[in-house]
């Protein structure tokens, strides 16, 4: 079976969405109702940057399972998704906790024991899969992956001879996730979202998905959005739910707002790499299931670390 949604189905699914100008603000505990077990879930940001951590945290707390998750580069969020059982399939170009800590023992444990799949594509291939999905076409042509064993593992892609030049090319299939999870610096109650700095693949991901859940550092008025419409990166009609979650990427970073909370990250890595099962359970129990709210989770990270990360995050504008 092709991994690509036929155009008829793609259009039918989209036309069934309520794309009207309406307020969509919900509470963090409500977002799990937008995601079903087994859904394909696209994750915004990259590595430790603008990761929609609060959304992933909320899905794990709601005991979602069998999610097929795609992200350009996945880090400790991928660990948590595998370790909690929320996901058993990750589509990405790179999967570890971060370059500083070597190979993730959590990823290794799940993949090497066959509990979960890590489906590898080149970074550009992931981008072009989202882009094809965003554009409403079944594929995009690229050149990377040709000649490599990365391609040998990916029967989903098709090698062709270019009908114009005769050159070899690779067609990568469109990826249209059921749901996209994206964290932004600000958006209005309708979902018009502005993203400062690094965009990663979030715009294509948002347009490709059949449902978009946004967390935002803050909700601003529609008037503020309309004052600088060329700063809007995701249009409201692509968005289905919005949650205002300050520090919604913690312990990862959010451009111009906070840097990663490295002490917490190091604590996390030490815990899970020592024991990818028991350490993970300990982390999840303490930091995901026990807190009553996201604010309580932040409190467990610790005020001092949150403030340090905030000061460093804003320093980007000093240089």
């Amino acid at each position: 079976m092709s991994v690509v949604k036929p155009y008829d189905k793609l259009r039918k699914d989209l036309s069934a969405r309520d794309r009207s100008l309406r307020e969509k603000v919900v509470a963090l505990e409500d977002v799990a109702s937008f995601v079903r077990d087994g859904d394909s879930v696209g994750i915004g940001g990259s590595t430790m940057s603008r990761t929609p951590m609060a959304l992933i945290w909320a899905l794990i707390r709601a005991r979602r399972k069998s999610l097929s998750c795609s992200r350009c580069i996945i880090s400790s969020d991928g660990d948590l998704l595998f370790g909690s059982g929320a996901s058993d399939h990750v589509i990405t170009s790179w999967f570890s906790q971060g370059i500083l800590w070597g190979v993730s023992k959590v990823m290794r444990h799940h993949v090497e024991t066959g509990k979960a799949r890590f489906e590898e594509w080149s970074h550009l291939a992931i981008g072009m899969r989202f882009r094809a999905g965003a554009m409403g076409v079944p594929f995009m042509p690229i050149r990377p992956m040709l000649g490599s064993d990365v391609l040998a593992q990916r029967p989903e892609a098709k090698e062709i001879d270019c009908p114009f030049t005769g050159e070899k090319l690779l067609l990568v299939p469109a990826l249209n996730p059921d749901v996209a999870l994206i964290h932004v610096q600000r958006c209005d109650p309708y979902g018009n979202a502005q993203i400062d700095g690094l965009q990663f693949m979030d715009i294509d991901l948002a347009m490709a998905a059949n449902k978009v859940i946004l967390t935002t550092e803050r909700i601003v008025s529609n008037d503020q959005i309309r004052r600088a419409p060329d700063q809007t990166k995701i249009p409201f009609f692509a968005v289905d739910a919005i949650v205002e979650v300050p520090y919604g990427s913690a312990p990862h970073e959010c451009y111009g707002v906070y840097e990663p909370m490295m002490k917490h990250m190091e604590h996390y890595v030490e815990l899970v790499n020592k024991d990818p099962v028991g350490g993970m359970k300990e982390y999840l129990d303490k930091y995901v299931f026990a807190p009553k709210s996201w604010a309580e989770f932040l409190d467990l990270i610790g005020l001092e670390e949150v403030l340090t990360a905030s000061r460093a995050g804003k320093s980007i504008y000093d240089a």
Partner: protein, 256 residues
């Protein structure tokens, strides 16, 4: 003149790789030694070096002591000329705007193919590694410099898995695979600097580092090397190179 005991292997790697860069170049740098070496070059002989990062950055000047933990972090954007999407920055490679791709490597073979995906059989791997990231894209699309530690288990005849293609199986196999542009250009290690034969595309020592013998290089390499009789020796790091490097990485994140 500095002596071998004055610097670490990682410092030597960073400095020798920095010297491969020329002012005015557009270089796509991976995290770790490449990022550090490119930033070092910028502060020494290449004030007009344009550094690209995978996260979507053109022309940044990373701040001393504020090395980013990945090339997708906001620290990569400091004083950049442009911040753009990560697919967009990778497409610059495909279009051809980039002179050099500059990466680290975990395992390399005689044709410059890199493996960062699997140790053992990919179907039932002994170790699942983190994967390609942008490595496959960079290696497929531009001229590559790789900086890596020289160990026999890392310099193998054929990699278990080609994550990032070098010259594939040598000769014109890269071009025939659909990759007519770019290819592995230099490999820099703490023992020597390597190029690739114009025809066979096999790895070839170009210069030994100070105090390193041919036998030592061969011993640490899992495939036979051919040494030119008049093979040169690289200049050891200068005091200026070392001190500038140490200012950039005061916590010795990458140069320990």
């Amino acid at each position: 003149m500095t002596h071998k005991s004055d610097y670490t292997a990682a410092e030597l790697l960073a400095i020798l790789s920095a010297r491969q860069l020329k002012d005015g170049m557009v270089v796509f740098a991976g995290v770790g030694i490449p990022l550090l070496a490119a930033t070092l070059a910028q502060r020494l002989h290449c004030p007009g070096l344009t550094i690209l990062f995978e996260g979507g950055v053109i022309g940044a000047f990373v701040e001393p002591g504020k090395l980013p933990p990945s090339t997708n972090d906001q620290r990569c954007t400091v004083r950049a000329n442009m911040v753009l999407g990560s697919a967009e920055v990778l497409l610059l490679l495909q279009r051809g705007y980039v002179d050099v791709g500059f990466m680290g490597g975990a395992q390399i073979d005689q044709y410059g193919n890199l493996n960062s995906s699997f140790i053992g059989d990919p179907k039932k791997p002994k170790t699942r590694l983190p994967g390609t990231g942008g490595g496959n894209d960079i290696a497929s699309l531009t001229n590559m410099i790789v900086a890596m530690k020289h160990e026999k288990r890392r310099f193998v005849e054929n990699v278990d898995f080609i994550t990032s293609p070098g010259w594939i199986k040598g000769n014109d196999t890269r071009r025939k695979s659909g990759l007519p542009a770019g290819g592995m250009f230099r490999v820099v290690t703490e023992l020597a600097v390597f190029g690739f034969d114009e025809k066979t595309r096999r790895m070839k020592p170009l210069a030994l580092n100070l105090g390193v013998s041919r036998a030592q290089v061969q011993e640490n390499t899992g495939f036979p090397l051919e040494f030119d009789s008049d093979i040169g020796v690289t200049e050891p790091p200068t005091e200026q190179e070392l001190s500038t490097l140490r200012v950039l990485d005061p916590e010795r994140l990458y140069i320990a």
